[in-house]
Point group: C2
Chain length 322, copies 2
């Protein structure tokens, strides 16, 4: 199968949305922006051996390659609309690509995202996805709006994906009954798109937790020129992670909770007066939203342990160049 | 230097254009489309060992990584506006990245293209660039409009980049006086952006010659459901390539001319009645535009050699999965 047959078989499809004037198969795709919208654009690169292990289930990988970008759209309050997929593959493996696209397409369909372009080449396995989303002009949620007194929230639970990864790597033993759910969080993260959209006009700042809550929250503090106090006791964690915090593997559990990446939950800030609105959003989405701390005028991030004492040393966020 | 310092040092910059509402450094960039424009979007992935050799001059590579995408914009008649750069690098090499960004930024500045986002990670060297361009609604030039009787044109010269590559690989000896220019074509291709814009409303179909004129022209024929006859004698080639066609290395020279990639010239079709307009464009841009053949109703591509005889076998276009 040659490159063009490969593209034709797996990527080509008729444009579905009226604003896609030209899809896969030309030098570029053409989209027609609707009046009054701004476009959010993000790109994420997943590298074998770095973001995923060799031999990773390709259907899960197809899901995740798109999910991490949809999560960026969620963090902006944008509706994801279009995706471009560039991929390097060691061989033109039809079965692998079919499975990858099954995962990619299933998630794309759920969020009504249209694949409009891409590029395929041979090389060490690398998937690079660009996503374009729509947001009403001026309503994107950035990292820069947090103000002293705002409450800090996080959706869902944090630490699960990192705990799943630690278990798979043999660094910790997890009960068989629990491991499936943790690995699901790691391999098939659910982007919080509906939450991001609901937070427009309410959240003062937001981002997605891809590198761990401590490191990610620091980006909001930097961009907003504020500080924060958060409490370990209040962080939403799975029962298994909470149990580990009280045992001999406390240190690893703390690292998962505070610096574990890959959860793709939203961390956001909002004025205290919006508390009821946020509770209503949580209820309507069936998604827990937990207050974990507050924004302060004083710069810096203070994390208080379960006894309320500031932690001297914080686990580091994952950094691709360390 | 950690990942965020790296991003901050090399990629972060204040938004320059009024329609960039948010640039590098958030979960996504935000751009505000102007009324009446459509966006052209393309992505290209360059892999070390595939598209460029290990040890390639990083400044040239920075130029080329952007140039190949600007060339896609040119092929659509779009004005390139925004770029996103995702890169995997084996190490956080500050000097390498500085040089790469020097090449990237210099070209971006010449075309007033703004870097609005990206991603960096560790991994086998891989550069993935997404470009967004603007085109007045309905005026994008696709591959699908060629009609029987249209003339086929190509800009500049074809075969130079492939000949430079063949020389560097030791497959052919080129005079020292000539090699510099050929390598320049290979390493620092000039995207034909002004030509693409000038061809709006004139060209019936267009694409850029990235894989070789024979293979690329076939995409226009497929998309337009037509055939073509082109003449080797009429193809714009450098003197050195033309000389080689008459010598013992004719086969390699023909392969460079017909199936050599990486020239990034525009190949386009236009009704015969537009000939004068096209000549005027060539003159105003100081860029040769050569008629190389004609579109036919009969499907298939006929290439005639210098004696006017149809060639039985055509050199194949470069295919990343062969």
């Amino acid at each position: 199968m040659n490159e063009f047959e490969l593209i034709g078989r797996h990527f080509a499809r008729a444009p579905r949305h009226g604003d896609v004037k030209l899809g896969v198969g030309d030098d570029a795709a053409i989209v027609a922006p609707a009046p009054g919208v701004e476009y959010a654009v993000s790109v994420d690169m997943l590298v074998e051996g770095r973001h995923f292990a060799a031999g990773t289930n390709p259907e899960n990988l197809g899901h995740k390659a798109l999910a991490v970008n949809l999560s960026d759209m969620a963090a902006m309050g944008a509706v994801p609309r279009f995706a471009l997929l560039a991929g390097a593959l060691p061989v033109a493996d039809d079965a692998w690509l079919s499975a990858f696209m099954r995962g990619f397409d299933a998630l794309a369909e759920r969020y009504d995202v249209e694949l409009i372009g891409g590029d395929t080449t041979r090389g060490p396995r690398n998937l690079c996805v660009t996503v374009i989303g729509e947001v009403p002009a001026g309503q994107a949620i950035t990292r820069a709006g947090a103000a002293a007194g705002d409450t800090i929230y996080v959706s869902g639970r944090v630490g699960d994906a990192a705990l799943g990864l630690a278990s798979r790597g043999g660094r910790i033993r997890i009960d068989d009954a629990m491991i499936g759910e943790l690995l699901q969080r790691l391999e098939r993260p659910e982007p919080r798109v509906a939450l991001g959209i609901a937070l427009r006009g309410i959240a003062s700042a937001a981002l997605d937790v891809s590198d761990g809550i401590v490191g990610d929250l620091a980006h909001i503090l930097d961009a907003s020129h504020v500080g924060a106090v958060v409490d370990v006791a209040g962080m939403p964690a799975s029962d298994v992670l909470r149990d580990l915090l009280g045992g001999p593997q406390r240190e690893l559990a703390l690292a998962c909770l505070l610096a574990g990446g890959d959860d793709y939950e939203l961390c956001f800030t909002a004025p205290a007066a919006t508390r009821r609105q946020i509770d209503a959003i949580a209820q309507s989405l069936g998604l827990p939203i937990t207050a974990i701390g507050a924004i302060t005028q004083t710069p810096g991030l203070v994390v208080r342990d379960e006894r309320g004492d500031p932690m001297r040393e914080l686990p580091r966020a994952f950094d691709h160049f360390r």
